[in-house]
């Protein structure tokens, strides 16, 4: 089968010594940054993007893959040992994991999270490899209107389907879309919303916006909460190894979590959170030890953690095959591709198969490295958790500005960083989600391009958008994803949606 050959070729690319080194650096940095409290995968990827600037595209993307998986892994360590999850996808892990750590079972909790992540990552990455060619084939028949409909669907699911308010989600999205208009129009070369400022002609950098919103906005927000005393880090006591009973209770949960998480990530439904909640609910219903839930049940760590990683791999399906980011992390990864002039999508599979399959193969390798690296090094990660807040956040700002300066050492770019940082802070204070702004900024120009192409072909006839069956179905789903939550919230059933909010910091 062709997929298998491609994957083997990819493995050969990824197994070159330099690429192995890049992957190793990637997973180490990704875990180290991801483990820091308050830093989720989106910020990890945004902060570490500048490290990869000087590498060739292949090496850089391989390092990136490692950073992505490492960041996901680091987040779960934080939530088990510290009751403040670094990423919202780890909230569920914290429910049971932190209880286990308090009961002195931190070791097995970390182990089941690590092995569960490995199992889920392995299966889901293989799933990605086998599904991708089919979606690429499907995507080749997509015209501009189908792409536009797909992007509308992504906009709706990222901004308003989950979270506690349709209004605030949509507002965030449209702020992002408005920022996306700034700069030179791709099709006619006219300057829009740049007010004669030459620096604005290039548009707003996605990485600048993401770093400002996630790093600076978050730092300001944490600082503004005042001193609430140090967080308590649970020490890892006893053995890291799982007992036979732990294994027996974990393995089914890992597989169930993977089966739940992967499809959810692969659909343009936004966020790994939904999968973790569903997995937690499933484990709670199926367990033979219901009394342990809420007091540190190992299934409650194993399932959601597997679901989390499976959907992280799942988000790569729309990203790589369609060029469609459905989370803030994926949006920043897309920015990473674009910095090399690469546009993920069906064409990339045709024009640059080595790169794509090398990337997929290095995800497998990164996954394996994480397993080997993390269990023995757990003591080191725990030390990182105990960095006092002032130094931690001072360091975060140091690296946040370093990335921006490295990309473009101008006073102007730092000014943008400060302005968007304040915007991110204000949005946090008023409960606006951040991810839609980032996704809107990067996906806005692509959606506009497709829309204008579709309308040019039809000579301005808008009905053409609804006359293709695929586009019509996608738009109907998008409308449903917008309207159903509105009705649910109006009838006071909004809490469930609020819990599923996709807010990655």
């Amino acid at each position: 089968m062709a997929t298998f050959d491609f994957l083997l070729q990819g493995l050969l690319v990824a197994a070159q010594p330099m690429n192995l080194l890049y992957a190793l650096i990637g997973v180490t940095l990704g875990t180290a940054v991801g483990v820091l409290p308050g830093i989720g995968p989106a910020l990890t990827v945004a902060l570490l993007l500048p490290v990869t600037y000087r590498l060739d595209p292949g090496g850089s993307l391989i390092m990136f893959a490692g950073i992505y998986y490492g960041g996901m892994y680091g987040g779960s360590t934080t939530s088990i040992l510290l009751n403040t999850p670094g990423e919202s996808a780890s909230i569920v892990t914290a429910l049971e994991g932190n209880k286990m750590a308090r009961a002195g079972r931190g070791g097995p909790a970390l182990a089941t999270a690590a092995i569960g992540s490995f199992v889920a990552g392995l299966i889901a990455t293989l799933g990605l490899a086998f599904i991708a060619p089919y979606i690429v084939k499907l995507a080749l028949v997509f015209g501009p209107r189908e792409y536009f409909a797909l992007m509308v669907l992504a906009f709706v699911t990222v901004s308003s389907a989950f979270g506690d308010s349709t209004l605030r989600g949509l507002t965030s999205l449209f702020v992002g879309l408005a920022l996306a208009v700034v700069g030179i129009d791709q099709l006619t070369g006219q300057a829009r919303l740049s007010f004669g400022v030459p620096e604005l002609l290039d548009g707003i950098e996605v990485t600048t916006l993401a770093v400002a919103m996630f790093a600076i906005g978050e730092t300001l927000f944490i600082a503004a909460q005042g001193d609430k005393g140090p967080d308590k880090v649970e020490a890892v006591r006893g053995s890291v190894w799982m007992s036979a009973a732990d294994w027996a209770r974990s393995w089914k949960a890992w597989l169930r979590g993977t089966v739940i998480g992967f499809p959810i990530g692969a659909m343009p439904a936004g966020g790994a959170e939904i999968g973790t909640f569903l997995s937690y609910a499933t484990e709670k219903r199926l367990t033979k030890h219901p009394e342990e839930f809420g007091n540190g049940a190992i299934e409650g760590v194993a399932g959601p953690e597997a679901a989390n990683n499976a959907s992280a791999a799942g988000t790569l399906v729309p990203l790589l095959t369609l060029g469609l980011p459905t989370t803030a992390t994926a949006a920043i990864m897309l920015a990473g591709f674009q910095q090399y002039g690469l546009q993920p999508g069906p064409l990339l599979f045709a024009t640059n198969p080595q790169l794509v399959w090398g990337l997929i193969a290095s995800l497998l390798i990164a996954n394996f490295m994480l397993l080997v690296l993390n269990l023995p090094l757990i003591g080191l990660w725990v030390k990182l958790l105990t960095i006092p807040k002032p130094w931690l956040y001072a360091g975060i700002l140091l690296f946040a500005t370093l990335g921006t300066i490295g990309a473009n050492p101008s006073v102007y770019e730092l000014g943008m960083l400060l302005a968007f940082g304040l915007l991110g802070y204000a949005m946090r204070v008023f409960g606006y989600p951040i991810a839609p702004v980032v996704v809107g900024l990067i996906l806005g120009p692509l959606a506009e391009q497709q829309l204008r192409r579709a309308l040019s072909i039809s000579q301005g006839d808008i009905t053409v958008l609804f006359t293709s069956p695929i586009a019509a179905v996608l738009l109907v789903i998008a409308a449903a994803a917008l309207i159903v939550p509105l009705i649910l919230r109006a009838r006071g059933r909004g809490e469930v949606l609020a819990q599923l909010a996709a807010s990655e910091d």
Partner: protein, 163 residues
């Protein structure tokens, strides 16, 4: 949107901060209308051009602004926690100082100041200690990233002293 230092108003009264957000959204919409209207009408025969999408976005922002007004009047916005202003000012001052000093004093000194002022915002009051620590740390970072990874980070007097 600007800084949210507005104290949370009691519920059931019009939420003034939310009304302000609505005004800002309307202002952005107005700005888009104004800017795009001066683009020459190059819609061409298909009636879609560089102005189509910005107009659509501006109309949506206007709609969201009106929606926000309704929610503000009904007190639908969530309660906000009290925000400490002083730490925010310290950190913003640090970022501003770094921005202005970067090309004059170089990466290490400018970013060292940011480091110390951020730590100050989080309660480390001893600037005479955190400032040198910050500058030394930033210098090490500069060496690693500018020399080893070849990122273009501006050099200042301190960097030129060694390289």
């Amino acid at each position: 949107m600007t800084k949210g230092h507005h104290p949370s108003t009691p519920t059931r009264r019009p939420d003034r901060a939310a009304l302000f957000i609505a005004a800002v959204l309307a202002a952005i919409a107005g700005l888009i209308f104004w800017d795009v209207s001066r683009l020459t009408g190059t819609a061409g025969y298909s009636q879609v051009g560089p102005t189509t999408v910005p107009y659509a976005i501006a109309w949506c922002l206007l709609g969201l602004s009106i929606w926000t007004v309704f929610e503000a009047l009904r007190g639908d916005f969530p309660e906000r926690e009290r925000q400490e202003v002083a730490p925010v000012i310290w950190i913003v001052a640090g970022l501003a100082a770094q921005m202005l000093l970067l090309n004059v004093a170089g990466f290490s000194i400018a970013t060292g100041i940011l480091f110390a002022l951020t730590a100050r915002g989080f309660g480390k009051r001893r600037l005479w200690l955190s400032l040198p620590v910050g500058i030394v740390l930033c210098f090490v970072v500069w060496v690693v990233f500018a020399k080893l990874l070849q990122l273009s980070l501006p050099a200042g007097p301190l960097e030129r002293l060694f390289f």
